[in-house]
């Protein structure tokens, strides 16, 4: 199959996936939350007033019309008005998504930046105490739930030593012109330390172990034996020859991880009060703000699919050995 044909096919697939997800989402919500205006009762609204709101949100229409309306609006990027915020959902969601992505990407990059060389080094010292400890620590952080390590980290660094901020993205109040201005500050970095570290520690295990195991396989290959025979220093063999050849599976894993990163880590956002999209979904469904919950989830899914697509395309470009299957 030609490269172009492959691209078109992948894009079509992505759109198809998105449509299926949107449909599932729509019916899930209608099944689980037949009357989303129920929560407004606490505010003292009576039945008539709620009926008015239902009409305003198109909830009185037959289901299939609601579905078409929903799809049509979604295609136009029109996700309606948040129930509780009375603001267009899209405005709220994009910024939250960006916040989630910066946390996740920073953490993943950190995890791989540490995990890959460390894994290579462990393979070199295989069987040693360092190797066992390395595996143990990597797996340990992979096994500990992030909300727990996060809580412990807050206790130690935030409450106990009071050296790191434990909630939010910035010290309040602050003035920022747009999102980048908010991110490109020392204060932001300071706030990001704990959450990024906790997520990174969780992700550390997979590059570490994959790298270590692939390296072990690579050691057996002929070209390594030859390098050894040439009497090259072990360090050079390790980093110049073996590591380069062992990178492929790690990169594959990285691609998958990044692809799913938009899903975020809801618990980390909750524990660290990080204003991300996952927490927004949690709040939205809790407050029955179904337009917001629906849109947040759909945008999240769209982003996951797009990321997967991009990673795939990038991957095929970088490594021609991957067939356009």
């Amino acid at each position: 199959m030609s490269r172009r044909g492959y691209l078109i096919k992948r894009v079509l697939q992505a759109i198809f996936s998105l449509w299926i997800i949107a449909t599932i989402l729509f019916f899930l919500f209608r099944m689980g939350l037949p009357d989303p205006t129920a929560a407004l009762v606490t505010e003292g609204l009576n039945a008539e007033q709620r009926a008015a709101i239902r009409a305003q949100f198109g909830l009185e229409e037959p289901l299939w019309r609601q579905y078409l309306l929903f799809l049509g609006n979604a295609v136009q990027g029109e996700f309606g008005t948040s129930f509780s915020y009375r603001a267009p959902v899209a405005d709220i969601v994009w910024e939250r998504l960006a916040n989630t992505m910066i946390l996740m990407l920073a953490a993943i990059v950190l995890a791989y930046a540490i995990g890959v060389p460390l894994g290579a080094w462990l393979s070199w010292r295989r069987g040693s105490r360092a190797d066992t400890t390395g595996i143990f620590v990597g797996l340990m952080f992979r096994s500990a739930p992030m909300f727990w390590t996060g809580m412990i980290a807050i206790l130690i660094f935030g409450v106990g030593l009071s050296i790191l901020p434990t909630s939010g993205m910035r010290t309040l109040p602050y003035d920022a012109d747009g999102w980048w201005d908010k991110i490109l500050t020392l204060d932001f970095l300071w706030h990001a330390v704990l959450p990024v570290l906790i997520v990174a520690l969780y992700y550390l295990g997979s590059p570490l172990l994959i790298m270590r195991n692939t390296m072990l396989e690579v050691y057996g290959e002929d070209f390594i034996e030859m390098a050894r025979a040439k009497g090259l220093p072990e360090r050079d063999i390790l980093y110049k020859h073996a590591a380069r050849n062992a990178l492929l599976p790690v990169v594959t894993q990285l691609a998958v991880t990044i692809g799913l990163a938009a899903g975020g880590q809801v618990v980390v956002e909750v524990v660290f009060s990080w204003p991300g999209l996952g927490r927004e979904i949690l709040n939205a469904v809790r407050t029955s703000d179904f337009p917001l919950a629906q849109a947040s989830f759909l945008i999240m899914a769209a982003f996951v699919i797009t990321l997967n697509l991009l990673v795939d395309i990038l991957y095929t470009t970088l490594d021609p050995r991957v067939s356009f299957q």
Binding site: A38, N46, Q49, S167, G168, L172, P173, R286
Partner: protein
């Protein structure tokens, strides 16, 4: 008193028992208690299980079903599809007037979606409800309100479980003169004005886990929106910390007769954009609210027939019928909007956040609102009350949850909490020298409402017996750590003037509960299951 009341209840039940003589005894239908999920409110959640245990001891088949809050409300209010439900009413200042809480037992509010889902139906009560609403003489109204409570309590249509104390804290090294207010605790409209800074920083920082749904005065339906907006919008009357109405934007409120009220405005008031505030704006505001789709204030505005301008600074309100709470509630809740800004807005409910006008005439001027993070207002130097205000700005920091708020309070990032502390945080706050813990009794209440349309709760004897089988004192002691009061009436004891002190108490007494059931013709089968 107690004994005679019990006899009445028993004799009524005994009569109904005689109606079907010789009928075979049937098991009492099983019941389900709806309550909140643990994460929404651990107290109501645990409380339901404590109640269920005691009811099982009486031979009832009881199960507890925690529901997500919106589902719970839906089942309770919209569908009225429940046996017994545990919910609560918050004690907003305007509910200190007994009108609202008494209305929750009015049979005419028994329809779907209205405030009396239990369906309590007592014509005498309804008649008294109308009478108290039209009674202007406070003493006479108090007598009626007391009578209503003495009337409904023996019927036990609803069990007031407890009134929970609002426990909040502030940093005593940064601000002083922080006076808590009933139903509002520290985050009242007065604290930002009265607080006196102890350091160079005169900016009061408040922290809370909740934020306004929006700050559109024609769309906000949450307490958190209005608690903030009332700081920069004026009202004609404000309720003092002792919940007395004091003239605010109005210099005088004069009742002409039962249905006519004249209001004179203070001279020289201006909006934050410099335009003068006149009677025209007041008339516009009330008409604008009455004509809009926004229903939040409907119950307050219902009494108004017309509002007319009678001078540059004077307005006349013509009411449909005499309304006792008009001056205290209506005039103190409706914000004054600038006509020159709002008159051009067709669909005010649909404004996007950036379009929402924030111009008021209040003691503070709107500064900024960053959703999910931060809000601030600055003191209005031109306001008539400006000399009494000691802060130069108020900031509100929004946190994800109560944990974030408490950490911020501990580390000095905020000066006071807007929302109650969690039980586990209170001792920590008390140990902290820099923090002062304030405990304010709440006149809102947590209740269990019986569905009086459904067996077995259609029988007053069952309701009475099951009420006696609730160890509410234990709930207060164990779940609230003693920080609250066993419920007595829907008008809380803190609301001393309206609360009827001599109503029946229903103390926890399993023996009395059994006796009550037995007298009503119930018995227990071999396995101890309740039957009739």
């Amino acid at each position: 008193m107690k004994r005679t009341l019990m006899l009445t209840g028993a004799s009524i039940a005994a009569l109904t028992a005689f109606a079907a003589p010789g009928a075979a005894q049937e098991r009492v239908p099983s019941v389900e208690i709806f309550t909140t999920t643990e994460s929404y409110d651990p107290i109501r959640y645990e409380g339901a299980f404590i109640i269920a245990d005691a009811w099982r001891e009486l031979g009832m088949d009881v199960s507890v079903r925690p529901l997500e809050f919106s589902t719970l409300l839906d089942r309770f209010y919209s569908e009225q599809d429940f046996d017994a439900t545990i919910l609560g009413w918050s004690g907003r200042v305007d509910r200190l007037d007994p009108q609202f809480f008494l209305g929750t037992l009015d049979s005419r509010q028994g329809g779907l979606g209205a405030n009396n889902p239990g369906g309590y139906d007592n014509p005498d009560y309804d008649a008294l409800y109308d009478a108290q609403g039209a009674e202007f003489d406070v003493e006479a109204r108090q007598a009626i309100v007391h009578e209503m409570q003495e009337l409904y309590v023996p019927d036990a249509p609803v069990v007031v479980l407890f009134n929970r104390d609002e426990v909040v804290a502030y940093n005593n090294t940064t601000f002083t003169n922080m006076n808590a207010m009933a139903g509002e605790a520290l985050y009242s409209e007065w604290v930002p004005m009265e607080a006196e800074p102890l350091t160079d920083r005169a900016t009061l920082r408040i922290g809370g886990p909740q934020e306004p749904d929006n700050i559109n005065p024609l769309a906000s339906t949450s307490v958190w929106g209005w608690k903030w907006m009332r700081l920069y919008y004026d009202r004609l009357v404000r309720l003092s910390p002792d919940v007395e109405p004091v003239p605010w934007a109005a210099s005088e409120v004069t009742p002409v007769d039962d249905v006519t009220i004249d209001v004179t405005l203070r001279e020289g008031m201006t909006f934050h954009d410099g335009e003068p505030l006149t009677a025209e704006d007041v008339v516009f505001t009330f008409n604008y609210y009455m004509e809009s789709d926004y229903s939040y204030f409907d119950s307050y505005l219902a009494a108004i027939d017309t509002v007319e301008q009678t001078g540059d600074l004077s307005v006349r309100f013509n009411l449909r019928e005499p309304s006792a709470p008009f001056a205290t509630i209506t005039l103190s809740q409706i914000p004054l909007l600038p006509q020159h800004i709002w008159e051009g807005i067709e669909n005010p409910g649909e404004l996007t956040p950036s379009e929402i006008p924030t111009v008021g005439s209040g003691p503070f001027v709107f500064d900024r609102y960053d959703r999910g993070e931060f809000m601030s207002i600055t003191t209005n130097a031109d306001h008539f009350h400006a000399d009494e205000i000691n802060t130069d700005a108020v900031e509100f920091v929004i946190y994800a949850d109560a944990e974030g708020v408490f950490t911020a309070l501990q580390t000095g990032q905020i000066d006071m909490t807007a929302w109650r502390l969690e039980p586990g945080q209170i001792p920590l706050a008390e140990e902290n020298e820099e923090l002062t813990v304030v405990s304010v009794p709440d006149f809102g209440y947590y209740h269990m409402t019986f569905n009086t349309r459904r067996a077995p709760f259609d029988d007053v004897a069952v309701r009475r017996a099951l009420t006696m089988a609730m160890d509410r004192e234990r709930m207060v002691n164990v779940l609230l750590d003693g920080r609250g009061e066993v419920g007595t009436s829907i008008i809380a004891p803190v609301n001393a003037f309206w609360h009827a002190p001599f109503i029946e108490r229903f103390e926890f007494d399993m023996e009395a509960a059994r006796a009550e059931l037995e007298a009503a013709g119930y018995s227990w089968d071999d396995e101890g299951r309740l039957q009739r």
